[in-house]
């Protein structure tokens, strides 16, 4: 998989819950293109239109708390985000992201390292995130091999597909 991710940063705060990522009224939507239109629509109204594939979302504490809706990481993935990095994640959001193949990386105090519009570079296997606009970096422990395998396969679907195909 791509171990080096770089892109423009969008910063959000602490306790961004799944209702703010994608509101309950959109939960019957399945098409990613439709989902994308409503991602964070109250929190960062310009995000849906202005975000570009490869951009990186940087968040504070407990990102993705709230419900188990996979719509939340799916809506972010629909934008083509390269990664979501947060001081900390809510557990179901974290699992859902990984299982969809969207790298979610927990780095304490990462939120404080970035402002909107900074350029970031993340190296998954070396375990660092760098603010290229400010020449500062933070390190994180390498992801466990089970998680890397899922990301490597491009998500849990592909991983299970390979397992089923080769019993």
């Amino acid at each position: 998989m791509k171990t080096l991710i770089s892109g423009k940063v969008w910063v959000v705060g602490d306790q961004v819950d799944t209702d703010q990522l994608i509101a309950g009224k959109y939960l019957t939507i399945i098409d990613p293109k439709e989902l994308r239109k409503h991602v964070m629509e109250d929190l960062v109204p310009e995000f849906s239109k202005a975000a570009r594939p490869g951009d990186i979302l940087v968040a504070g504490e407990n990102f993705g708390c709230g419900s188990s809706r996979e719509h939340a990481p799916a809506a972010l993935q629909a934008v083509g985000l390269g990664a979501v990095v947060a001081n900390s994640f809510a557990r179901i959001f974290y699992r859902n992201s990984i299982n969809l193949g969207l790298p979610a990386i927990e780095v304490s105090s990462v939120r404080e390292l970035f402002s909107d519009g900074d350029q970031a570079e993340i190296h998954l296997s070396e375990g660092y995130i760098r603010n290229l606009s400010r020449s500062k970096e933070l390190r994180f422990p390498p992801l466990p091999s089970h998680i890397l395998e899922i990301l490597d396969s491009g998500g849990l679907v592909e991983k299970v597909r390979r397992e089923i195909a080769t019993p």
């Binding site: 309950g24 939960l27 019957t28 709230g66 699992r95 679907v157």
Partner: protein, 422 residues
């Protein structure tokens, strides 16, 4: 082997790993997998995985609850997809319209989760079933698809918090107040990735319904699982209904806990979680003094819409009327509870006073079906979440409290302390 917490015991059994330590990733066997509408999103990944069949149809429950009967075309489509999927893959345990209830409630009522289980569900409040002494966790649909295909799941072994509940509850104080009190200490992220075990003489005295209320809201603490120790109460509840073999595991004496909390409930007053967070908890007397006017009262949700909840609320509401300008929505947690209310006269009692008694569903709890708040509206609710936009408008305000407090607030038109009338 070192001394183990309950979650370590359960994961040892599920994964065959003799001594799973916190942080370690294990792959465990699933005892029960549940999906509600969100399960429809699992169908495409399930097919893409190339699975030919579901690993064990007798361990899969589908229970639609958010939009029942379907209130939008989108919801109707999800239901349709699930019905077709159940037929194609021969899944017999489908709680469809007419036999429905909130997913966690039907799992509880029909003994689908038993002590020692690893249970997964496509809903974040799957934690509720932890009250059985099981590890019950919420997962997303892609992961659900993988469970359907393989019967297994990857889990990171969580560290555990031990919460000792001691003391007697006063009049007008309920399990909901206990869990709000715990939330005020643990906070919405204090148990993130962690398992909670409830210990203590008060925990041991609680009924299953009360345990469900408390385990349910461990989700609001970020917990991976919120468990009670299986005991005679659990056994009694499951007598004759347990769907598979029980493994009543208990934690070892000297197990290691990341944190131990002692909560003394003597003299505690009813609690309220104020907008916009379930841990923004204050004693109800302080909130009542501010005369917080409400537009809606909601008695429902998987947290608090079982018979004991409805009866407590009915005690207060009997012979009274809903305050002018307020709507009082009562939604039982399952069709079985609905019918019991019918027999006990509770539907008559509530509707005579101007409440609307709805069909069983998630109802107003999640702001996507009915009972939605407009901007600036305020709701007194027995549910579990009050984040901005949870019940409709992001400018709506939701106060969480016990069913008794909801009922009195409906009568008074403002948030009120149930001790005043009990």
């Amino acid at each position: 082997m070192s001394e183990q917490t309950l979650v370590q015991k359960i994961l040892t059994r599920a994964s065959g790993t003799p001594d799973p330590v916190p942080g370690q990733i294990v792959v465990g066997k699933v005892d029960l997998a549940m999906a509600h509408e969100q399960g429809a999103q699992a169908i495409a990944p399930f097919v893409q995985m190339g699975a030919k069949k579901v690993w064990d149809p007798d361990r899969v429950v589908i229970a639609i609850d958010h939009w029942v009967p379907a209130s939008t075309e989108g919801a109707a489509r999800l239901h349709q997809m699930l019905r077709e999927f159940s037929q194609t893959y021969k899944l017999p345990h489908f709680y469809d319209v007419g036999n429905h209830g909130i997913c966690h409630q039907v799992l509880a009522e029909d003994g689908w989760v038993v002590p020692g289980d690893v249970a997964v569900g496509t809903d974040s409040h799957t934690n509720m079933l932890g009250a059985m002494g099981a590890m019950a966790v919420g997962i997303g649909p892609t992961e659900f698809a993988a469970v359907l295909a393989t019967g297994k799941i990857w889990l990171k072994v969580p560290p555990s918090l031990k919460i000792n509940l001691e003391g007697r509850l006063g009049k007008g104080v309920y399990a909901k107040d206990i869990v709000l009190r715990v939330l005020s200490e643990v906070k919405t992220d204090g148990a993130r990735y962690k398992a909670i075990e409830f210990h203590g003489s008060t925990a041991a005295r609680l009924s299953m319904s009360e345990r469900f209320t408390i385990s349910n809201m461990t989700t609001e603490m970020g917990a991976k699982a919120g468990m009670f120790l299986p005991d005679a109460t659990t056994q009694e509840f499951l007598r004759g209904i347990a769907k598979h073999e029980m493994h009543p595991l208990l934690p070892d004496e000297g197990a290691t806990y990341e944190r131990v909390l002692h909560i003394n409930l003597d003299g505690m007053e009813p609690q309220v979680a104020c907008p916009h967070s379930p841990d923004n908890v204050r004693p109800i007397s302080a909130v009542a003094k501010e005369h917080v006017k409400i537009n809606q009262a909601f008695l429902g949700s998987c947290t608090n819409a079982r018979m004991d909840d409805l009866r407590e609320a009915a005690k207060i509401f009997k012979g009274e009327k809903v305050a002018p300008g307020v709507r009082f929505i009562v939604s039982p947690a399952s069709t079985r509870i609905y019918r019991e209310c019918l027999k006990e006269g509770l539907i008559d009692l509530f509707t005579a006073g101007g409440a609307v008694f709805t069909n069983s569903s998630c109802s107003a709890c999640f702001g996507g079906n009915m009972g939605i708040l407009a901007a600036e509206e305020v709701c007194a609710s027995s549910s579990n979440r009050n984040f901005p936009g949870r019940m409709g408008s992001t400018k709506g305000r939701v106060y969480l409290m016990s069913p008794a407090a909801v009922a009195l607030s409906a009568i008074r038109g403002e948030i009120a302390d149930p001790r005043e009338v009990l």
